[in-house]
């Protein structure tokens, strides 16, 4: 009797699970792409403050921009190409010889989802909104010298002109990022109010675009289902996007995401843990495209205004004491591109067109001790090393190794794991002495990195660096049209960066896109999301 009674529990558990499992899926899976992600889409307009990266990814599907980026191969992987900019809603564009006037010829056959044609008037309204309303695009377009509605002019229904105050290398590129979406101005205006002339509230939960996909259902934090727009023809092959439906689903547990894609229930995922990605790659059933995020850097940073990190020797000592290889293996399982271990024979940066570049850094404890002595701290010091909880997966093992290695040269480190909101606040107030962070530049040109991450009192100047030379060269490089001169500014900047060691670039983490082996066409995009318009099923 005893056995019967206890066996009952196990039997109940088993049978109920078996009986209730539904065997087949109703719809045709081949035409649908199911994407799982850990994060959530929280707005349909990418311009709303607080938008998530997933929301950026969505806007690329539902809206068109004037321009979009082409692609290139980097070490055998397809990545977006900042230097090849092609038309999306613009059929073609011309830049005047002095670089001050850009004329766009709009596609005459482009239609919004409601069937109305896309005209220069819509383009004007949308770009005016970008530079006038309180939207994210405002700050972004500033980096391409696009600041005022006066710069945008309607020539005729399908011709549009942008005027620049100075020739700006990033003006065109800025029109291809996620913010300057072209909105159906008549539709949007009909939902605008006196307090909200740019229809920010309405566009948050509604789309008025001409993009490749139309929203079928949108449950914030759960799922977003997209239906293909059959009239869309801005793809590279001049035809609608390949998948009929796209489902983006939030699945918070990384292990479950890995299970889903391995079982074939999900088609693609890009935010797995490095271990899971490595494991699935080894099993060989799925396609794993691992692209180093060439527009991002993970670094160890110091507040350069705060003692003892205001001393160059202290920063150098830490740079010489970090266990780079061990950290790279422990944090990322070696998935990514290291930014250490380079060889600069003459102490000068080998290149100037790009940043970041690998730094000539290696673990050398004797050198670290020497630098500490030179800083007047031969016995070391105590400090805290902070990272945010959201990055714990990679930062935790890294911090433990850092603590151990710095301990060998007398620097006592307390590890501080902070909630994300608290970490952002402290960084914004410049109160964290020693920490790790990552940065991403959508438009990864050398001067953009220096201007946005090493200058001024802004939050993204993590190191709180204030160096007259870096400021001067970076600003000058921005408007330098001569390629050789630009490279020479870059060489000086890269060399100076290494000499000052304001923060230590460690690596570029890989973006691991794990997908069913039948999925084709994946390209690593500037916003680190999937552009589903690229994908098709073989």
């Amino acid at each position: 009797m005893t056995i019967v009674r206890t066996g009952w529990l196990a039997a109940a558990l088993l049978t109920s699970t078996t009986l209730l499992a539904s065997p087949a899926l109703a719809q045709t899976r081949a035409e649908t792409l199911r994407h799982v992600t850990g994060a959530a889409i929280n707005t349909l307009d990418p311009n709303i403050p607080g938008s998530t990266r997933e929301a950026f990814g969505l806007s690329l599907l539902t809206y068109d921009r004037l321009l979009s980026f082409g692609r290139k191969q980097l070490n055998g992987k397809w990545v977006f190409d900042l230097d090849s900019i092609r038309g999306e809603l613009a059929e073609s564009y011309t830049v005047s010889p002095d670089g001050l006037k850009i004329t766009f010829n709009l596609r005459k056959d482009a239609k919004f989802h409601d069937g109305t044609p896309v005209t220069a008037e819509d383009v004007k309204w949308s770009l005016d909104r970008e530079v006038s309303a309180n939207v994210l695009g405002k700050g972004q377009l500033l980096t391409g010298s696009l600041t005022s509605p006066d710069q945008f002019k309607i020539i005729d229904a399908h011709t549009f002109e942008v005027t620049l105050p100075k020739p700006d290398k990033l003006a065109l590129a800025n029109l291809a990022v996620v913010y300057p979406v072209i909105i159906n101005s008549k539709l949007a205006k009909s939902h605008a109010t006196a307090e909200d002339p740019w229809a920010l509230n309405w566009l948050k939960d509604n789309t008025a675009g001409s993009g490749a996909y139309i929203i079928e259902s949108y449950k914030p934090g759960e799922t977003t289902i997209l239906r293909r727009n059959p009239d869309w023809n801005r793809g590279s092959a001049d035809k609608p996007a390949s998948f009929k439906r796209i489902i983006t689903q939030t699945v918070p547990e990384a292990a479950t995401r890995a299970n889903l894609v391995e079982k074939g229930d999900a088609d693609i995922v890009i935010d797995l843990q490095a271990t899971d990605a490595a494991d699935l790659e080894k099993k060989g059933k799925l396609k794993v495209v691992s692209t180093p995020q060439y527009n991002s850097i993970t670094f160890v940073s110091f507040n350069n205004q705060m003692p003892p990190f205001d001393k160059i020797e202290v920063r150098r000592a830490i740079a010489a004491a970090l266990p780079y290889d061990d950290m790279f293996k422990a944090a990322l399982f070696g998935r990514g591109a290291p930014l250490y271990g380079a060889n600069w024979p003459d102490g000068k940066a080998p290149t100037g067109e790009i940043f970041p570049i690998p730094q000539p850094l290696k673990t050398d404890l004797a050198e670290a001790k020497k630098q500490l002595a030179a800083a007047g701290l031969p016995d070391g010091f105590s400090t805290t090393f902070s990272f945010n909880v959201g990055q714990a997966g990679t930062a935790e093992p890294m911090a433990a190794l850092l603590k151990e290695s710095l301990g060998k040269v007398g620097i006592k480190v307390d590890i501080q794991k902070l909630p994300d909101a608290q970490m952002s606040t402290l960084i914004n107030e410049k109160k964290v002495p020693f920490f790790t962070e990552g940065i991403v530049a959508w438009l990864p040109s050398m001067d953009y990195f220096y201007r946005n991450f090493y200058i001024g009192p802004i939050r993204w100047n993590y190191a709180s660096l204030d160096d007259a030379k870096i400021t001067e060269w970076a600003q000058a490089a921005r408007f330098e049209a001569d390629k050789a001169k630009y490279a020479s500014y870059g060489k000086d900047l890269n060399t100076r960066h290494f000499e000052l060691m304001p923060q230590i670039p460690l690596w570029q983490p890989a973006q691991d896109a794990v997908m069913a082996s039948s999925i084709d066409g994946y390209v690593y995009q500037f916003h680190r999301q999937i552009d589903f318009r690229d994908l098709s099923r073989k």
């Binding site: 209730l20 539904s22 403050p49 700050g139 914030p220 759960e222 959201g390 909101a421 946005n452 939050r459």
Partner: protein, 343 residues
């Protein structure tokens, strides 16, 4: 006075006396959120070009530019008019978020509680009837296992076994298979809504999604329920009235079920009420593991992001549910044991 009016009066009085507590919870959560470190405006202004202006916009949007007492007054006024604010994490009004997510949590919790009760009460009774025997030890083992294995571990293990290895369970994401169209919204409880719509295929899909998370949750609370049942059953088996009933030569079944068990169920009822309230909040890990769109995981995400409005809304909701559950338990208690209602 009739039994019914006594019960109603009692319920009304209990409800009124819990209002000050609710108000206290409201103010306390409000203040607590504001002394927590971390500025939500800075966190949400995380765009690549986020500057001071953007931070100020968000701060203004959240009403954080005003002094705290004024914020509190505005907040209380908003609550009075049924406005719980807007979540920055999902971009939706908190009230509609909670409304759409609460049924998911309740459905999961009710199912889990039902499974737990159906399992725990017989186990507890069996253990009490054969005190110190093999079955008693087995019950103790199951209880220990349920309590010591955290829900996210048991959840992941169940997924691994039944979804990944055996393939019995559907993919563990959400309340219904992604390719099944949801039923017309009536109650928000999928099992009820599918049944009302007569869509039994959909009902099966929803029920099969529910099995693993509900078992995970149930496993966690079988222990307290079984232990209480066992203890209460032992106490009532040893009491005078059971001895009397036995000495009168009543059947074993009548003695155990009618006399012992009925009396033993009172403490089980109390504990079940408390267990239910805690489960609703403690669901968070189960909801995370099974991508269950419930209120607990919603509140946790908001808390990590210092998103004030959803956290405050969630605490208020939980406090209200706690009050309601206590009220229900009181009323049931009065029905089960009329002596309780005598004031």
């Amino acid at each position: 006075m009739s039994q019914l009016s006594i019960t109603a009066k009692r319920a009304g009085w209990r409800f009124a006396s819990s209002l000050p507590a609710l108000f206290g919870v409201l103010v306390f959560t409000f203040l607590l959120m504001r002394v927590l470190p971390g500025d939500p405006a800075v966190f949400f202004a995380s765009g690549p070009t986020a500057g001071k202006e953007e931070i100020e916009t968000i701060r203004k949007q959240m009403g954080l530019d005003k002094p705290v007492p004024e914020q509190l007054l505005r907040y209380l006024g908003d609550i009075g008019s049924g406005n719980l604010g807007r979540s920055l994490t999902t971009g939706q009004p908190v009230l509609s978020d909670l409304k759409s997510r609460l049924p998911a949590s309740l459905e999961l919790t009710f199912s889990a509680l039902l499974i737990a009760l159906v399992t725990a009460v017989p186990l507890g009774v069996a253990a009490a009837l054969r005190q110190g025997s093999g079955i008693d030890h087995i019950v103790r083992f199951i209880c220990a296992l349920g309590v010591c294995v955290p829900t996210f571990v048991s959840g992941l293990l169940l997924i691994y076994a039944f979804y990944y290895l055996l393939g019995f369970a559907p993919d563990p994401t959400g309340r219904v298979d992604i390719f099944t169209s949801p039923p017309p919204l009536v109650t928000g409880f999928l099992l009820i809504d599918f049944a009302l719509a007569g869509d039994w295929e959909g009902w099966r899909a929803a029920a099969s999604q529910l099995v693993l998370p509900a078992f995970t949750m149930a496993l966690f609370v079988v222990a307290p329920l079984a232990r209480i049942t066992r203890a209460a059953m032992l106490a009532s088996l040893g009491s005078d009235f059971v001895r009397t009933a036995r000495s009168l030569g009543l059947s074993r079944r009548k003695v155990i079920v009618t006399y012992a068990l009925r009396n033993a169920l009172l403490p089980v009822l109390t504990i079940a009420g408390i267990v239910f309230s805690t489960m609703l909040g403690a669901n968070v890990l189960v909801e995370k593991v099974f991508s269950w769109p419930g209120v607990a995981s919603y509140a946790l995400d908001a808390l990590l992001a210092s998103d004030y409005a959803p956290v405050q809304g969630f605490v208020l909701l939980m406090a209200s549910i706690f009050v309601l559950v206590n009220l229900t338990v009181d009323v049931l208690y009065g029905i089960a044991d009329p002596r309780v209602s005598v004031e």
